[in-house]
């Protein structure tokens, strides 16, 4: 009896002894190994959206510096970022190359709604993590049908709703004019805005105008919008046109309550060229720290960031909103990889991305926490309204929960 018990116990102990290293055993999918993690990306470094290429440049610099400091859990990040010229067929080609030829573990921050739509089904069929997309379209938050895709930007639709609700609360009889870019991005914002106004949308929106990215100016649109007699203006534009709109609104002597979408709210790349003095009073939403904001001059992350681009990407301006955004995304990615530890299967990476608990991305505004769950992939659950005072964006009111 005793001998049997002994052998049994010994067997159990040895089995457990084998089990523990097995659980801590490293697991890899293509793109991950003991020494490196391969991350793929497509970015419009050329073409109409090339101003966003800064994002990829900053991320490349971030990973380069990280590698010099030892990498993540001892592994270097091999960041392969390819140009897709904002053309969906090119995105498909480059992503296929990254997945099938370069065999990356995951893709990070692929930019543009049409570009991402083109590869959405492919990534989910191939079961490759399609991570932290650089677009705020609402359709990326769909863990049930597309469990391999997770967005990053706060939802455009929700942001539009946020402004609508603010107008309803502060100026219920407002006459609203809307300028929007005639594409997925513009329409997503506009639809959210209309939904936020609810039944009053038709009566409150007195004028709307769209523009194409290929239009030289939006002067005519602004003239029309002013002529409608509106006293509130929702400006859904990308940076270049945002600057033009802000400038033109002041030039035609129109002084509406001016809401500007977050994507174009960078002090350095939009408000400064437009004119800081004419930008006073603009209302927007913020979730990432701004390089031009003097509040963060002594903030450790901001200091690191400015040192990084000075050393590795000197052509990038620290005031460029795209730059701090790219940095924030890279930080989020590193956090997920850290959480994954030695289990670098694609499945585990997605699992970690789906279980972020109140994480403060260092580059995000203090208090803007990232959280995900297996049923809700939207990273940022609250939005903060801000108003421009001529120098910085100043928060007002409390962060609002968005859905």
């Amino acid at each position: 009896m005793k001998k049997r018990q002994f052998t049994l116990t010994a067997l159990c102990i040895s089995l457990i002894g084998f089990a523990i290293p097995a659980a801590a055993e490293k697991k890899y999918d293509p793109g991950a190994s003991d020494t490196e993690i391969k991350i793929g990306q497509t970015m419009p470094y050329s073409g109409p959206a090339s101003a966003y290429g800064v994002i990829g440049k900053v991320q490349a610099a971030y990973f380069k510096q990280l590698n010099e400091q030892g990498g993540v859990n001892g592994r270097k990040i091999n960041f392969i970022s390819l140009d897709d010229g904002y053309s969906p067929p090119k995105t498909v080609e480059m992503i296929r190359r990254l997945v099938e030829q370069d065999e990356v573990l995951l893709t990070l921050g692929t930019l543009g709604t049409p570009s991402n739509t083109a590869i959405h089904k492919y990534m989910n069929t191939k079961k490759v993590p399609h991570m932290f997309l650089a677009t705020g379209a609402s359709k990326w938050n769909d863990p049930k049908n597309n469990p391999w895709t997770i967005g990053f930007n706060p939802n455009y639709h929700s942001e539009g709703k946020l402004y609508a609700q603010h107008i309803l609360a502060t100026k219920p009889n407002a006459k609203i004019a809307v300028l929007f870019q005639n594409d997925d991005y513009g329409k997503d914002y506009f639809n959210g805005f209309k939904e936020g106004l609810g039944a009053k949308a038709a009566s409150m929106i007195v004028s709307q105008a769209s523009y194409e990215v290929t239009d030289p100016t939006i002067d005519s649109q602004i003239v029309s919008l002013k002529g409608s007699g509106a006293d509130t203006f929702f400006n859904i534009t990308t940076p270049k046109f945002a600057a033009q709109a802000i400038r033109k609104v002041s030039e035609v002597g129109w002084k509406p309550t001016h809401y500007l979408n977050q994507v174009s709210a960078s002090v350095g790349s939009v408000l400064k060229p437009a004119g800081l003095d004419v930008s006073v009073g603009l209302i927007s939403m913020q979730y990432i720290k701004e390089g031009a904001d003097s509040r963060w001059d002594n903030d450790p992350t901001m200091k690191d960031f400015k040192a990084l681009i000075k050393k590795y990407a000197p052509e990038v301006s620290p005031d460029d909103g795209n730059a701090t955004y790219g940095y924030a995304v890279a930080q989020m990615m590193v956090q997920v990889l850290k959480q994954a530890g030695d289990n670098l299967t694609r499945e585990n990476v997605m699992k970690q991305a789906a279980s972020i608990k109140d994480f403060q991305v260092p580059m995000a505004l203090p208090g803007v926490l990232a959280s995900t769950s297996p049923t809700d992939f939207a990273l940022f659950q609250t939005m903060q309204l801000v108003k421009f005072d001529g120098k910085n964006w100043i928060e007002f009111g409390k962060p609002v929960a968005v859905n």
Partner: protein, 290 residues
């Protein structure tokens, strides 16, 4: 009513933008009988040169003049080095070279200056003229500058022997050589002048649309349309064409078809004009008898 007038005035202002680039296109056409698609990019590049000078502390007007001289040289260099080898090649080959040039200039500008927009200063006061909000002082000033350019260009081609020699060199290079005109240098001169005009256009346009490598791509199409509507060999026609296109675009967008289709409709209308008057409104119709 007030908005209507405002739209027209805004159309004239935008039209002025198209007109200034259209003048450069007319210049290059009159001197080489080719339409240079890279003209917009040369103008953009020249504007970046001005921006670099101004950022280095040079005063605006000094930078303005330096840029004109620099672009003139750039234009001449491009013609002598890049265009000359394909001067006698089929038109399509020359078009491909233009496209190559366009792409190179755009890419290099993006590499050196990045794609983030930059503000470009205007020499005109910030306050609107006469306190009216219909047009900004800069836009009014730019139209003035365009008119001055137009006058200079017109007088040059009509009244100076050099202008005549250039037109001859473009129209009939062989006979011109027989008369003693140095055709090669006429072409180079034409390129230089077109680049110089383009640089002025760029410096007038940049304060309105903000300086970035893709600044001219939207404008080039409208400038092209303006030049053709007005008559590709008529500087005055090109400028008028620019205003017509600007006003048409604005009125269509605001009152007729809405902004979502105004581009298509404007272009359709231009083509209709061209089918009725194939040489443009003020172009010379060349009648060939068989």
């Amino acid at each position: 009513m007030e908005t209507f007038i405002h739209q027209i005035v805004a159309g004239i202002a935008t039209g002025g933008v198209y007109a200034s680039l259209a003048l450069a296109l007319v210049m290059i056409y009159q001197s080489t009988h080719h339409i240079n698609f890279a003209q917009g990019e040369i103008a953009m590049f020249a504007t970046y040169m001005a921006w670099t000078l101004i950022n280095a502390g040079v005063s605006y007007w000094l930078a303005f003049v330096c840029t004109i001289l620099l672009s003139f040289s750039l234009g001449v260099l491009i013609q002598r080095i890049i265009i000359r080898p394909v001067e006698n090649a089929p038109v399509l080959n020359i078009v491909v070279v233009f496209i190559g040039l366009l792409v190179i200039l755009n890419s290099i500008a993006g590499w050196i200056f990045t794609y983030t927009i930059k503000a470009f200063p205007s020499p005109f006061p910030k306050e609107p003229p006469f306190g009216l909000y219909f047009i900004s002082s800069h836009e009014l000033g730019s139209i003035g500058v365009t008119m001055v350019l137009l006058l200079l260009l017109y007088s040059f081609f009509k009244f100076t022997p050099l202008g005549l020699a250039m037109r001859a060199a473009a129209q009939n290079p062989d006979s011109s050589r027989l008369v003693g005109i140095r055709v090669g240098w006429m072409l180079a001169l034409g390129w230089g002048l077109a680049a110089a005009i383009g640089s002025v256009a760029g410096m007038m346009i940049a304060p309105v649309v903000f300086l970035e490598p893709n600044m001219m791509s939207g404008i080039l199409l409208y400038a092209f349309a303006a030049a053709l509507v007005g008559g590709i060999d008529s500087p005055g026609g090109a400028v008028l064409g620019g205003f017509i296109v600007g006003i048409l675009e604005n009125i269509l967008g605001a009152y007729v078809i809405g902004t979502e289709l105004k581009l298509s409709v404007a272009l359709v209308l231009i083509i209709v004009v061209l089918t009725i008057k194939p040489a443009g409104l003020f172009g010379k119709v060349i009648v060939s008898r068989v």
